[in-house]
């Protein structure tokens, strides 16, 4: 009755791959093209070990934030609060470490706090970030307030909270071990900050793309009602992605403290838009249900490499801002073309 559908896996897979490269992978190609151009034009400066190290260190904090944002956007949400949550977590963490080190009054320099205290500081940052994320998730999933509004609200609240805790003045005293061994340290020639970011990216990528939890995040973002009716715990999934994004902001807070040796209260106003554009640039749909962590990594590196290349080439860095805006619009346009094309096919 039913004929066995003869499979031609190899041909179909290459066709599939070609389709995905042409549609989804174009931004990856853009990255390769940019790298090649700069490498050909200025091989010594652009390709130097030092430059590569600086590039990856610059990317590290954004990578961690953007990975959390990827989960949120795939679930058809948005998290505008990441930068403020980072600031809040960094203030809480650094204040706590100062207090534990018995140097509550120190206003700059370094403390000789041990790894135990640093560990407590890390935990505090992650928990504080996660707490904001849980609040976001609860308001979005249970109280059903739009994500844009909720995270806009908590963006203000977290930044204000950080300023209240710190009187608006950056905490400039950090544990020396944190700054030296994590902020400036490296293992086997790779900066520790980059290793942390890589670990976050790999784990988050595996969980999103290989586990049942990850697939359910996609399902929730693709069609929330379908997910709910098929028995997926939609609210728990939603709350968890915002909690994850908050926790990632907490990790990023520790990385920022370690890198700069101070909190950076006024330095993260644009983090939300930077990460959102990286995620979208990486092919994750703003409508939810489709995207990848790998794409986000590419999306984080494009503006950084563009800026770096422009600086090395002597092009005024302002052009990077212009170029980035154009690339972002292009990315969303391609995404929509792709969707229209798929729907017709």
């Amino acid at each position: 009755m039913t004929t066995t559908t003869a499979e031609a896996p190899t041909r179909r897979d290459t066709g599939d791959l070609l389709f995905r490269t042409l549609t989804g992978g174009w931004i990856f190609l853009l990255l390769i093209v940019l790298l090649s151009i700069f490498l050909v034009l200025r091989p010594e400066q652009f390709g130097s070990a030092y430059n590569v190290q600086q590039l990856t260190i610059n990317a590290a904090i954004f990578l961690v934030l953007a990975v959390g944002q990827t989960y949120v956007i795939i679930s058809a949400g948005i998290d505008l609060s990441v930068g403020s949550v980072l600031v809040f977590s960094s203030v809480v963490s650094s204040k706590l470490m100062l207090y534990l080190a018995g140097d509550g009054g120190t206003s700059f320099g370094t403390t000789d706090a041990g790894w135990g205290i640093i560990l407590v500081g890390v935990a505090a940052a992650v928990l504080a970030g996660m707490a904001w994320g849980l609040l976001n998730g609860f308001l979005i999933a249970v109280a059903r307030i739009p994500a844009l509004i909720v995270t806009l609200g908590t963006m203000g609240m977290a930044l204000g909270g950080a300023q209240i805790l710190s009187d608006g003045v950056d905490v400039r005293a950090m544990p020396e071990r944190l700054v030296n061994d994590i902020g400036a340290g490296s293992i086997a020639g790779i900066p520790v900050l980059v290793l942390i970011a890589a670990l976050c990216v790999v784990v988050a990528g595996i969980v999103l793309h290989k586990t049942r939890y990850g697939l359910q995040v996609f399902a929730v973002g693709s069609h929330i009602e379908a997910a709910r009716r098929s028995g997926i715990a939609v609210n728990r999934r939603l709350i968890s992605v915002y909690a994850l994004s908050g926790a990632m902001a907490g990790i990023a807070a520790v990385m920022a403290n370690a890198r700069f040796g101070t909190t950076t209260i006024n330095g993260h106003v644009m983090d939300n838009l930077t990460t959102i554009s990286a995620v979208v640039l990486g092919g994750t749909s703003l409508f939810g249900g489709a995207g990848s962590v790998f794409g986000t990594v590419v999306g984080v590196f494009i503006p950084i490499i563009l800026l770096n290349g422009f600086v090395i080439m002597g092009i005024p860095p302002f052009w990077q801002t212009v170029a980035m805006g154009a690339v972002l619009i292009l990315a969303v346009w391609v995404d929509q073309l792709k969707r229209r094309l798929r729907k017709r096919g």
């Binding site: 009755m1 290989k210 939890y213 996609f218 069609h223 028995g231």
Partner: protein, 253 residues
């Protein structure tokens, strides 16, 4: 006489001052396709929502294989072996067919990796392919998002999914309303195959020739009441239309 797989007796449901159902009866026997027909507003969708756990009756009873049931949610109905394909299909448009078939019931790998929640996509694809083959559903690729499929194919995936998890009955609310001739025929063939696999099908349709072609039995609702229960092989389109528009239940009641 065999016990019906699914039996609803004297169902009443009122919305404000609208009496959507006022004494509806409905039964599904093993291995049959039952059509549920009625004019617009007769109460078909309301009855289906009650049978699928999405709504609760004011009074009346539901029995599954002779056992009285109170469905609190569609999930309860699914547990009892009854799955419904509503018109919005409830598929995740961005995910491939296999992932949709296993939505909420994803397969994980055996052993430790499984306990960590690692998916067994290969097993999901294989079992999905088996299910599609069993039901004669042909898809060009098993990797592409559902939204790239045609309306009929999406409908087929939704039905295949319902048939995969419902042990007893699947309910289709106007499955062919938005489809062309060829795709309509495919979906009806699919309904027959589902029945031949041992799962009964409830079909809601406004298309009378189609109903007579595919159904074994036809139950007619009029103004919230069941007015006829006909053998499809001996009924004509005229019979159905007469029952829908001028049934005699009110005099009989």
């Amino acid at each position: 006489m065999t016990t019906p797989l699914l039996e609803a007796t004297d169902i009443h449901r009122t919305f404000g001052h609208v009496q959507a159902l006022r004494g509806a009866n409905f039964s599904v026997m093993p291995n049959e396709i039952v059509a549920l027909i009625g004019d617009n507003g007769a109460g078909k969708s309301t009855l289906v929502k009650i049978l699928s756990g999405a709504d609760r009756p004011d009074t009346g009873s539901i029995r599954v294989a002779g056992e009285t049931m109170h469905f609190g949610s569609p999930y309860d109905a699914q547990q009892a072996g009854i799955a419904t394909v509503f018109q919005d299909l409830a598929l995740a448009p961005d995910l491939p067919p296999a992932e949709n078939l296993f939505l909420g019931r994803e397969l994980v790998r055996p052993g430790f990796a499984g306990r960590l929640g690692f998916l067994d996509r290969r097993a999901m694809r294989e079992r999905a392919a088996e299910q599609f083959q069993r039901l004669g559903v042909h898809l060009k690729s098993d990797r592409v998002a559902i939204e790239t499929l045609s309306g009929g194919q999406r409908q087929s995936v939704a039905i295949a999914r319902a048939a995969m998890w419902a042990q007893r009955v699947i309910i289709l609310d106007e499955p062919t309303a938005a489809l062309g001739v060829v795709q309509t025929q495919r979906v009806l063939d699919l309904a027959k195959r589902v029945r031949d696999q041992g799962i009964s099908v409830v079909l809601i349709s406004h298309n009378m020739p189609q109903v007579l072609d595919v159904a074994d039995r036809v139950q007619v609702l009029r103004l919230g009441q069941t007015v006829a229960n006909l053998d499809a092989s001996s009924a004509s389109v005229d019979d159905l239309v007469r029952e829908m528009t001028s049934g005699t239940a009110e005099e009989a009641a």
